[in-house]
Symmetry: C3
Subunit: 399 residues, 3 copies
């Protein structure tokens, strides 16, 4: 009897985290469609190709290097782990590699339209091997000094349940570095480039896939079935709906902002989704959509930073907002189920900004010097699809 | 040991109903694509925008008002419920709000092409706050007099396992009221409007998403993992396949009718999916597709009711058919696993028709008088996309 | 207590295999998009129509005939099975019918563009009733002589965990027979037919849906939650990523080969996914993508076999490779968790080739003689969409 309960529990844990892993895998299809729908049509094929290839490379690199960096576990060398506990360690890796692979996928939307195909892959390799796993190890893994230091000062470590800071802000702030070094697309600021999304249905499809998959991203961050929390689901739902509503209202009914507003809410709720009250989640999502709509405009029109999908405000700034928001609303007086430390949330979130910006500049600068980052003007004009993949999205339709 | 079994059971229940909730959430992406693929291209963006926005508004309204109406539970005021039993009550709400949000999504397909954007939202608000939850409370919730009355008369209450009556027929018959008050689209009956679907692949995508998600809609209506029934899955599968086959045969191989035929079968099987024999499910699905193909033609060509996606026959009439069919086939003599009352099924199903038609006329009439329902001829000609969202589905392709 | 553990276990098993079934159902939407994106635009509607209709017909035929052939269980005649053990037998059938229906869906991609609509359906009926279930029964079901014979000779039976041989190779080699009898599409080898994919985003969507659903195909092949294995998931993941990487590298960054390369890896890993070491899975996937890229070219350009989606190399040859690869890498000395017999894997895999080729020639030859297989030149020129479904994918866009 006891054996069968243990076996069922362990099997349930494997199923639980596997479902999360598969849902986040699906999100990568969502990243591809969101990007393909937002870029110009001559870069659609490239979006699909990049996301699938970078996912694939990232997964293997993270298996052999990154996972060891973050957690000290080399799954490939210990045959016992293949089947121990129904193979839980294998599926947990799958779940976490899906997180790791999200970072290059996030960046992809910012640098699209003028980055060289394999420059993006090289960046993904270093991100999955070192940059992301080291910070992951710092917050969630085996590298304990930073969280210990925060606990000593603030009485609490950085709480980042599902990665507002570790995944989204790292991705968004790395992207900012890449975007700045790359410079804007040819014609972006002289009016010769059509910057409208090429395909709203694809944008919406990408957004829907991401929305749905996000419930795997957040809920399965509990990592064990027996730790599942319905509160995480409801907070994700509410931040998403509030983000969509805000996106629509703040943009005066723009489809791109509405669908991305839902994502902004989801980025921001990750950190505190297991802690804050659902009404706080509504506020967090609403603010996130406001940040996205306003700062995307400020970034791309005032600062003239050519962030194609707005990944810096969407994932970077909103990831930081999510980390801080958990500190603001994570108090029992506000209906939260746990006490978090605002200080630790602020310092931890800002540490991620500095970390990502600093390493991002080094990473993209080195790639630029050694391999080259930027497609030629001619290549950009032809588009990434014909330049790299010798085919357009709809070949028959070309005259 | 006993604690760990209880905890595992409770965690399993949360996972179970969460999966259902997420699958129905995904169905809303399906509603969007089904609508976008069926309407003219100038209304595609609008389809996505409406579905996401109305989902979002509906969710919050149902949380604060509708759920209290139907079940008497105000989740926002009782902090204990946030984490009690792994947060089961929170996820159950998520599951049921996904049902509630289906009603405006169903209606959307009927009124598209000429309804004002926010008129639709206003209707969604009243539907999610009062109209749907009151009827839901009557059949599934805390308002017991109607089911008691049916039981007194027929020895059985209305059995509606997964909402043929409560969700689909309420949605479809409300839509009929809205469609009649709105009137047909500009040019619909003078031959100047192209009424062919704009995009069969989108229509098919929407249909596939709905088909797949429907297994969450039906199977997870058991609400507890320990109540799961494989029979529900197989009956859903068979009604769907029979509906697709019927849709193809009755329409002479038309893609729209085939993909909607699958949905017609699924609408009709909801009510009795936990009770009837799989062979009965085949018959129910086949009849449902016949109803859809024949009555869609009768509705739109003979009665000249401009129901764009055919939501009245698809969800309304077939929802009613599903309620009654459960009474016809829900007998052990026909291989069913439970005895249902044909009388209660007929009276309950017809009550929903009257309820929805009556309140639908009042609702849309009042909105029409106060805010206005109908887009101007000029706006319809330009299309909802440019009228409300200042962008077309594929901006680059416009000359 | 014991009752509640048993009930929870049994409910968990039903949920587990149901999730698998639904994920494979979703894969059929993926088959449809992969085909629609790869064929010419005038055959897109047809792709959707065929996949949904053949799925539906196959399901019912397999229920009434095929399942009895393979497992000796007639679910429709034993009312007790409807609810016994939470209806596990019903959902297991759903899972296995989703496997059976994959065979016609695989074939569809090879014969598209010139096969008569109902000729394909007739073939699907015989495949689902007899051809597939008999071989299934031989390897997994109640017909024991072949596996006994292998065991006598090699000390081990054919190990085919998730159907590299039973599903994919049977599908791919049947397709080869059909393709050869049908002959190439009009204009395929005189340069008058545009053979480029019509829609890369649809191709990518199909591929993503298949990739994601494949984790249900493979992991849920354990059939019981308590038998779940994380190793299966990780091996599927690695074969997929290696296949995508190989597809890109071997094709010089072609989007079709990259996305199909991921699928090639998944086809090949099915058989041994529960046994081999993850590093072996990487090699298996890499070889699979090499096979696909090189043999697709050899098949279609050298042998001039007009296999539109390349289903013979993708599913047929790679299915065979998967069966044999399990024998090559299924040894504890190579880190595998079980010992397999290379001899049994080779003989079993080749038996499937002969079986499918032989019956495929008979099947398609008879259909050709009695009903006719091939669309007229005129019909091919117009396209399957207008010929059979009286509508194009995007009617508004036609001048």
């Amino acid at each position: 009897m006891e054996t069968s309960v243990q076996s069922l529990t362990s099997a349930g844990n494997v199923l639980f985290i596997l479902l999360g892993a598969v849902m986040i895998l699906a999100m990568h299809g969502g990243f591809a469609f969101l990007e393909a729908g937002t870029v110009s049509k001559k870069n659609q094929v490239n979006a699909f190709q990049k996301i699938l290839f970078d996912w694939s490379v990232t997964t293997l690199i993270y298996f052999f290097i990154g996972y060891v960096v973050a957690y000290g576990i080399s799954l490939y060398s210990d045959t016992k782990l293949l089947t121990y506990d129904h193979g839980y360690e294998m599926v947990k890796f799958f779940f976490l590699t899906a997180f790791a692979a999200a970072v290059p996928a996030i960046i992809s939307g910012g640098v699209v339209g003028r980055i060289k195909f394999f420059a993006q892959t090289i960046a993904a390799i270093f991100i999955a091997a070192i940059i992301y796993p080291f910070f992951e190890g710092l917050i969630w893994g085996r590298i304990s000094f930073f969280q210990n230091w925060l606990t000593n000062i603030f009485g609490n470590s950085l709480h980042d349940f599902a990665g507002s800071v570790v995944v989204h802000s790292i991705g968004g702030w790395l992207a900012l570095a890449g975007i700045l070094i790359l410079g804007p697309r040819r014609g972006r600021y002289d009016g010769t480039l059509d910057i409208r999304p090429s395909n709203i249905p694809f944008l919406a499809l990408g957004s829907w896939i991401l929305i749905v998959g996000w419930f795997g991203f957040n809920v399965m961050s509990a990592q064990k079935l027996t730790e599942i929390s319905g509160l995480v689901a409801i907070n994700s739902l509410f931040a998403m709906t509030a983000g969509a509503i805000g996106g629509l209202l703040f943009s005066k009914n723009d489809a791109g902002f509405t669908h991305n507003g839902a994502l902004a809410g989801l980025v921001a709720i990750c950190a505190g989704s297991d802690v804050v009250h659902p009404i706080s989640a509504i506020i967090i999502g609403l603010v996130a959509s406001f940040i996205f709509v306003k700062l995307f405009h400020w970034e791309t029109e005032v600062l003239k930073i050519d962030d194609v999908l707005g990944v810096w405000p969407l994932h970077g700034i909103n990831g930081t907002w999510g980390g801080i928001a958990a500190g603001i609303f994570g108090h029992k007086a506000l209906g939260a189920v746990k006490e978090l430390s605002l200080g630790a949330q602020i310092v931890g979130s800002l540490a991620a900004v500095l970390y990502a910006l600093f390493l991002g500049f080094i990473l993209y600068k080195i790639i630029d010097l050694i391999y080259g980052l930027r497609m030629s003007e001619q290549e950009q004009m032809i588009g990434s699809d014909l330049t790299y993949h010798r085919i357009e999205a709809n070949p028959e339709e070309t005259l």
